[in-house]
Symmetry: C2
DNA sequence: ACCCTATGTTGCCCCTGTCAACATCGAGGT
DNA sequence: ACCTCGATGTTGACAGGGGCAACATAGGGT
């Protein structure tokens, strides 16, 4: 009884420990044997819950996407904002999330950890996150805009925020001092320039 | 004599084999023992040339950056083009390189394989690649533009092409059929919109 | 009370990384 | 021509992880 033979909630515990390690940027030492040790459980107990480490990482990534969507969705549907303002806030929120959960974000998007194509549920969530972007960016366009143009703008926006996130996370933008300021400023520029339709000319200066 | 005891050019051979594996998207099975087997050499021979696998991968990444710069530099200095045209071509060339050498590009930028901060030479080459972008994008701006604005545009451009590359490489943009067309089209939009100064208004429709 | 299944444990094997001790080769000095 | 030394390659040994199979235990449903 002292130590119950069965852990009771090993699956959840595995995920939590993995998340801890991910957040501490220690993904490299996520392994069944190591996790088992840290959870005071025998080395092959984890196999009862995940067929391999990739599965475990994919599950953690899945939860990351879920949290990501939970953060983005409210912003994508903010009331009392112009479409451009919503688009801007969505972009800023996107990059902030990526930086605040940088290791998790890496896990979600870097194919080095697990093959997304083997985890349709993860793919589905990723696709859902993209639809938020597409929905929000399309609202900034003329009704006459073609689907192709809508897809192009949404994809450009995704590429931009994703690229900005990755460059920050991977340390390529160490020179930039005030990240939040830079993020807002560049997203603003992106939104203002890219959503302005041809006829209008381009607005303001700041 | 039959088999010379010494390989003769093991270092180069290791790099080449690694490159082969990288290009075949088999980075995961780059290991000294495996490489040694494939090169018909004993398992710890590689240690005479690289202190560990990370060093080897960093070297391959370094060569990747060198090749990258070799491709970008001529485009950044193309004669007979407007600054905007050069900027566009540089962006298109960037993404094309990334897609044509996708595994290599991943190796170069994903910190999962080696820690770039431990390899100053690699960092230097990465920085050089960025200066090409900054040089080319700045040429599209008013002389009155501040350094901060120049840095911002260059960084936005980098984020955009990097993000676009990563999304393609990691399979997030599988829906897009004609990649080359999409790349040129979106880079064109990016350049035209982002480099147009306020006073000019925005040009053409195409 | 019994059994069945989910869960955890242990033993075993093969893989990799890494070091230390030893072997071989080639180049330079004599 | 010969010797020596450093560079390179080899072998043995150990630690550690992934993964499977056989066994152990607990707890719930009959």
């Amino acid at each position: 009884m002292s130590k119950s033979y069965h852990h009771g909630d090993l699956r959840r515990a595995l995920i939590e420990k993995t998340l801890e390690l991910v957040q501490a940027d220690q993904v490299h030492l996520v392994g069944f044997r190591e996790l088992a040790r840290q959870l005071a459980v025998s080395r092959s107990a984890p196999y009862r819950h995940f067929s391999n480490v990739e599965d475990l990482l994919a599950e953690v990534a899945r939860q990351g996407f879920a949290a990501f969507i939970d953060v983005l969705e409210p912003v994508a549907t903010l009331k009392g904002y112009t479409p451009e303002e919503r688009f801007l806030e969505l972009g800023v929120t996107y990059v902030h999330f990526a930086l605040e959960h940088s290791a998790h974000y890496r896990l979600m998007f870097d194919c080095a950890y697990f093959k997304q194509e083997d985890f349709p549920e993860v793919q589905g969530l990723a696709a859902h996150a993209f639809t938020l972007l597409k929905y929000t960016s399309s609202a900034c366009m003329d009704k006459s805009a073609s689907d192709r143009d809508k897809l192009e703008l949404a994809t450009m926006a995704w590429a931009f925020v994703h690229g900005l996130s990755k460059l920050f996370i991977d340390g390529q933008l160490a020179k930039i001092k005030n990240r939040k300021r830079f993020i807002r400023s560049s997203c603003q520029r992106f939104v203002r320039r890219l959503t302005t339709t041809m006829k209008q000319g381009v607005a303001g200066s700041d």
